[in-house]
Amino acid sequence: MSGHPSNYEPQTGFTKWLDTRLPIVRLAYDSVVDFPTPKNLNYWYTFGGILAVCLATQILTGIVLAMHYTPTVDGAFASVERIMRDVPYGWLIRYIHANGASMFFLAVYIHMFRGLYYGSYKAPREVLWILGCVIFLLMMGTAFLGYVLPWGQMSYHGANVITGLIGALPLVGEGIQSWLMGGPSIGNQTLQRFFSLHYLLPFMIAGVVILHIWALHVPGNNNPTGVEARKDPEGLKKDTVPFHPYYTVKDGFAIVVFLLIFATFVFYMPNVLGHADNYIEADPLVTPAYIVPEWYLLPFYAILRAITFDIGPIDAKLLGVIAMFGSIAILFVLPWLDTSKVRSMRYRPVARQFFFGFVVASLLLGWCGASNPDDPIIPMGSDKLVVSYTDANGNEATQTYEEYGAAASFRDQKLDEGVEASMAVDKAPAFRFVHLAQLMTLYYFAYFLVILPLLGLREKPKDEPTSIHKAVLGNDRAAPAPAE
């Protein structure tokens, strides 16, 4: 499965016998023991291993939860609480699974930002990157399906919103929506198919993960310098170390530190990442005041809500859906949008500033997704009171006031005269969350569609080191040309 020559030598009679029939031990040896790995990988590169642990944790805890869960609208909520109360250590298994989803996304976002920063999507790793995007997409689907299963208020109304989004797509949307819901509305049949699909998708993720690792092992790891490890035996020996024990121990350490953070959530704030409304059993007749997705989907939710205007024949709702799906779809073509030959942003000082801007934009989009779009961030002026009444000629008239007392006495005076009068608030102009979301959405797309394509053609990158070995020795710059 890897692109380097195998150094495995079977030692015992049995392994020799097996190696000629099914070289599975050789495969494992070449992939996770002897695999040459650049020796300069930093901690940002440990998230691959962390993600493998997350996936295994979710699948294992999920299998146990499925043994106790009841996928019916009458039984789902109570069965989840029964797991918490009566299943031995059920509370632990469920809290690991629920918080595990958040940890999985935390790790995957760091993993993705790392790939963006060090240019890990560039040739020859395009397929590796695209497979990663497929995993991300499957993860989002799985997380959404899983969030519906406890059948709380956010489960139900969140499912309504998301299936509604798919229904907004032209031509195929409604068909897919009713196929997903299993009928005209969300009900028992929806819950049952969501449970089935939620069980299926993680195994599809696991399958794509195998392809992802395969695609990683053909070109080998990228590294913080973005310079390929040399292929000749001597260079390879200087630039790389065997995966085991060097990276098993480094990844192991990082995984345990990650588990410490994970455990802090599971044991000391198990519900902080969820929404309180999801502990209220789903009621189709009562809509929560604010429907918000889980934190890891907030940036995409903000993009969806940022589009409040029509463009030509496309209305705002459909445009929002297109923008939201587009923000993920654009990742798939990223390898061909970035025109720079230099991988690592270490040597692209200008691009690096734009990258940090992109990280900030993503976080701000998350903040916008969590907030009410109409809330002001920076108020400009103060709200005024407007009294509307009918004047002597029977026409509509208004009077604006700063002070409540004056406005109220004017209204009361008009009412005493027997004239219709009412008071309303005239909101002062403000920079609101929707405006911030629009700006950040613009930056999000501009980063991929304008900045990366143009910057690669125009910027002057710094000199890359000639090899990984030189880079770690501190000879970060290419040696000056020898004097004649």
């Binding site: 509370w91 060097y246 009171l385």
Partner: protein
């Protein structure tokens, strides 16, 4: 240190997530003076308070609120308020058996002649619900459904502090007043009586429509929010009055929107909303079996502690398992850190 960067990235994400719960509208719930015993990584529930809280629940809350996810046996299980090490199986605990037997429930199984009869509850039964179903609960409460209290501390932002704040947050006596107002007789609702409506309209045509119908007087309950202790903190100040709808009670901690009932500056509508539950706790409402003085504050504290336990009966086990896990992981991390440095000592990286 490079490592700190990715830990701070994790914390950043957590902060981002926390901002998702900035609930608007209601006043932020606050904990009682002195805080909660169960707070913090090693905090434990004050079991005497939880026991008293069970008494408050039975004598006050249980007449309207169900707790369908709780069983009598839960009271005597490890981590429960009446756990007795002498009876590791809660079903043998005489106190728990006695609690159960105080309630008469309709048997789910028919008897020998096929009738369903009432019998004393057993430890294995769920807590007795006050109403047979939600529709009956609504019918008995003016259309409002008293929420099931099993997981109420998890289902509301603020948890136990929310319960405490809500129970103690109703307007004080001084803030409530009643006044009589004259209301013009409304025209009969459409379709109620066609003839009468036509009559009223023809009278209206004479220009003397309201003269024929005598104005009614109505009693309004008004709350002067400036008098409310809960609203006088911080820099917000509210000048004006809230008119309470009939059968509704104002509470600044209740999620809702009070703007329609607000007579005052619409730019400064007081937080909170109206709920159908009148103030429940008055001094001495229950007589505590352990002799504790039953002040409103004490009862609110106790019932909130009880509901905190009921929302997650395994929370004590969670924290103790957590401590062991954290210690184990911390030691493992230190060992791996040293192994990492030993293995990499000869490699520049």
């Amino acid at each position: 240190m490079k490592f700190l960067r990715f830990i701070s990235a994790g914390l950043g994400a957590a902060a981002l997530a926390a901002s998702a719960h900035a609930a608007g509208g209601a006043l932020h719930a606050h904990e009682p003076e002195g805080g909660w015993a169960f707070e913090g990584p090693v905090g434990e529930l004050d079991m005497e308070s939880v026991q008293r809280g069970y008494q408050v629940y039975r004598e006050v809350c249980a007449s309207c609120h169900s707790m369908r996810l709780l069983h009598y046996r839960n009271l005597g299980e490890p981590g429960g308020p009446f756990y007795d090490p002498e009876y590791p199986n809660a079903n043998n605990n005489p106190l728990v058996k006695a609690f159960a037997a105080q309630d008469e429930i309709l048997s789910t199984e028919p008897n020998d002649v096929g009738d369903y009869e009432y019998r004393p509850a057993r430890t294995s039964d769920p807590f007795k619900s006050p109403y047979p179903n939600d529709a009956a609960a609504r019918a008995a409460n003016g259309g409002a459904l008293p929420p099931d209290l099993s997981v109420i501390t998890k289902a509301r932002a603020g948890g136990a502090s929310y319960v405490y704040s809500l129970m103690t947050g109703y307007p004080e006596e001084e803030a409530i007043s009643t006044r009589e107002i004259e209301v013009e007789a409304e025209e009969p609702a459409e379709g109620e009586n066609g003839d009468e409506e036509a009559d009223a309209e023809s009278e209206g045509a004479d220009g003397e429509g309201s003269a024929e119908v005598s104005p009614r007087t109505e009693t309004q309950t008004v709350i002067d929010v400036a008098e409310m202790e809960a609203l006088s903190h911080g820099d917000s100040h509210y000048e004006g009055e809230l008119v309470q709808p009939v059968g509704q009670y104002y509470n600044p901690y209740m999620a809702g929107d009070a703007s329609a009932q607000w007579q005052g500056d619409p730019r400064h509508t007081p937080p909170g909303g109206f709920l159908a539950m009148p103030p429940q706790l008055t001094d001495g409402r229950v007589s505590y079996l352990d002799g504790t003085e039953a002040t409103v504050d004490q009862m609110a504290r106790d019932v909130a502690a009880f509901l905190q336990w009921a929302g997650e009966p395994k929370q004590q086990q969670r924290k103790s398992t957590g401590l062991a896990t954290m210690i184990y992981l911390a030691i493992l991390a230190v060992l791996l850190w040293f192994s990492f440095h030993r293995i990499w000592r000869k490699v520049d990286h």
